[in-house]
Symmetry: C2
Subunit: 414 residues, 2 copies
């Protein structure tokens, strides 16, 4: 069986997944949760093969940790699937409805895409998250999870297939092309008419390659050069804690803070305490001249720092003349993921919310909240930084399309 | 000034169009409506240059007619712009909202895309329709209208620019690259980061070229191999009139009927009157064996007829064993635009609505109703046959993206 054969099987199974009602889909999700726990031992054995391969190939300790599945992590994966089961079914949701002057009744309702494709890297939990979200939203799914976790993913998909079959849904609705290497991803990107939407999730290089090569429409997940602007009126305690939390709580993810902008009238008062708190947590400050003059430990920032998504305990810091300069800096360097303003000034807050052109724009909150789990979506497919179809954290609703249902009594057009 | 310079101007102007409130945008639309009527004479003169060029190049009478603008058509264009002004502003519409357990308040609101691009052919009314819809939805727009209407389009865009400038909005927000020929379209398709979404509208060849070449996300408008299924229980009067209206009222458009499927138990009773009525209007019937045996004038249908979007007074007709075969035929040959069932059987109606995977699915109504104007959208950008972002007729709502606004009081992530 080739990769394209597997994609065709998913397409064939998609019609019956699309018709499954909520009770059937939730039963299948509960079955998945049960099967994962029941097969923990085999999953850990398969995962150990990937870990051994990763070690011998010199994967970093961080990547090895992301790759690892142990009993606790499998249980938490199982819990996440149960949480998806507990969410409202997005299918059938009536988005708009009206009666036309001629009596035709229109309903725009949410429907499944059909077949969702995902190309991702390393973390095997993505296999379970995306399969669970696809199933709950009535979609078949084709997965391509990267060679580093090949053994784990192949076993996980076979468990997913058994689990949904035992709940009466077609096992073909969940497919992996991990056994076809790079060619599997290529076939997915060419599968126009078979795969309805493709989600790349992983490094900037992976996403760029999929966006450029895919003939299938792509839901782009993107980098986060994330900014916080500390306004003149910012409360010191909020500024210190929000900046610290946004940078330090988990620096390796896309919603972590990368550049701090501070109003010049607040810099002398607030920067020493903000940067002092960061410094205690080991953050390296890349500052402009003003910042360096205020804070001894700062190294000089260059143009590259304003563009950097560090993914590390580094932070670019710039003192700006006010909200206008902050908005200009953000417009120039932001990747349109998440930005936050710390302010007590309601006009500045509203202007920031309106004028910053990003997926998520915040007032007096940590940027780390841009997350499907935090938003209440259960698992997440990824965070979209494009404007078409979905923007921000993508959950069940973002895996649906719509169709118009029109009911009449013989109406014809004049 | 090059094509890319003009695209950059649109991008620069997009921020101020996005911030314009409804009163300002409506004033600009009324100004456009006034300016069109006031400049009728010059528009007709420019249009005559295109008509003369079209005649000398041997354009068909049908295309010449689509190209023509006279006083009445300019007045109707002006009316259409006023209708767009009268529609509700889609910007700021709150799509979802919730308060998280930690007190963060989230609102997902509709925002403009930024810059909308349109690549289209022949009919100069599209220039006005798309510019008006883009303006009302807070977007800047870059237009590329095809060489056949170049003189008309260049003048129309200069009138649009003057009209919005006189209402206090930046004239740069409406751009044409018609003066750069094919290169203008190429620059648009490459303008990732400047143009946010590209709408191709015209022939299948044009759409395919844009979908395949564009680096900018595309809203695909598509062909319509449109089906009607006449069920066993169909009312004869509805079947006759709905089929006739769907085929004959305007055969050259994408929502016109192309293939009629008839339940075998209804064929003997209904087909003679359905086909007789069509025949009186000059429709050529391409029928299967059963159809030919029932109706003398039918020619033999081949495999090509089931795939045909005739755009003419031709109709493919097939007798099927029942709803199952009708659904299978539609799944195989439909372009997922519009399908309708004529039935008195509520179970069959609901099954058809659920299982047909098309942008618009109808019961007892003519397929010609798949239209932005009929749906109450004012003008239309086109009819989307893709599943991402927009499906079916695209009006103001389809020219918007969303962003998440998050308001807090110092929340940080645990």
């Amino acid at each position: 069986m080739t990769a394209i054969d597997k994609i065709r099987l998913a397409k064939q199974a998609s019609a019956s997944i699309a018709r499954a009602n909520t009770l059937q889909k939730n039963a299948a999700l509960r079955s998945i949760a049960d099967h994962l726990v029941a097969h923990s031992k085999e999953i850990i054995e398969a995962n150990e093969l990937d870990l051994a391969k990763g070690s011998s190939e010199g994967l970093s300790a961080g990547l090895i940790d992301r790759l690892r599945l142990d009993k606790a992590r499998i249980e938490s994966l199982s819990e996440a699937v149960l949480q998806v089961a507990s969410l409202a079914d997005p299918i059938g949701d009536v988005k708009r409805g009206m009666t036309l002057p001629n009596g035709l009744r229109l309903n725009q309702v949410a429907v499944p895409f059909g077949v969702v494709g995902a190309i991702y890297e390393a973390r095997p939990n993505v296999t379970i998250d995306i399969a669970a979200l696809a199933l709950k939203s009535g979609n078949a799914v084709v997965l391509r999870g990267g060679s580093a976790s090949e053994n784990t993913n192949l076993l996980l998909v076979s468990i997913l297939q058994k689990a949904i079959a035992s709940a009466g849904l077609p096992s073909d609705a969940i497919q992996t092309v991990d056994d076809f290497g790079r060619q599997g991803a290529v076939e997915m990107m060419q599968a126009r008419g078979l795969i309805d939407v493709l989600v790349p999730r992983g490094s900037a290089g992976l996403i760029k390659a999929v966006v450029e090569e895919s003939k299938v429409p792509v839901l782009e997940t993107g980098d986060g050069v994330v900014h916080i602007f500390v306004d003149e009126s910012a409360r010191e305690d909020w500024a210190v804690e929000i900046v610290h939390n946004s940078k330090v709580q988990r620096p390796s993810v896309c919603n972590a803070l990368e550049t701090l902008l501070v109003h010049q009238n607040a810099a002398t008062k607030l920067l020493p305490s903000i940067l002092g708190r960061l410094s205690e947590s080991g953050v390296t400050i890349h500052g402009d001249d003003f910042t360096q003059s205020l804070f001894d430990g700062a190294v000089a920032a260059t143009e590259e720092d304003w563009k950097a998504e560090y993914y590390s305990l580094d932070l670019a810091v710039k003192v700006v003349s006010g909200l206008d300069e902050a908005l200009q800096h953000i417009a120039k360097y932001s990747t349109h993921h998440t930005e936050s303003i710390i302010t007590e000034d309601v006009s500045n807050a509203e202007r920031f919310l309106q004028e910053v052109d990003s997926a998520v724009v915040m007032v007096n909150a940590a940027t780390r909240f841009t997350d499907g789990g935090e938003f209440g979506f259960g698992a997440e497919v990824g965070i979209s930084t494009q404007k078409l179809h979905a923007r921000g954290p993508m959950g069940l609703a973002e895996l649906t399309s719509t169709k118009w249902l029109v009911r009449g009594e013989g109406q014809t057009r004049v």
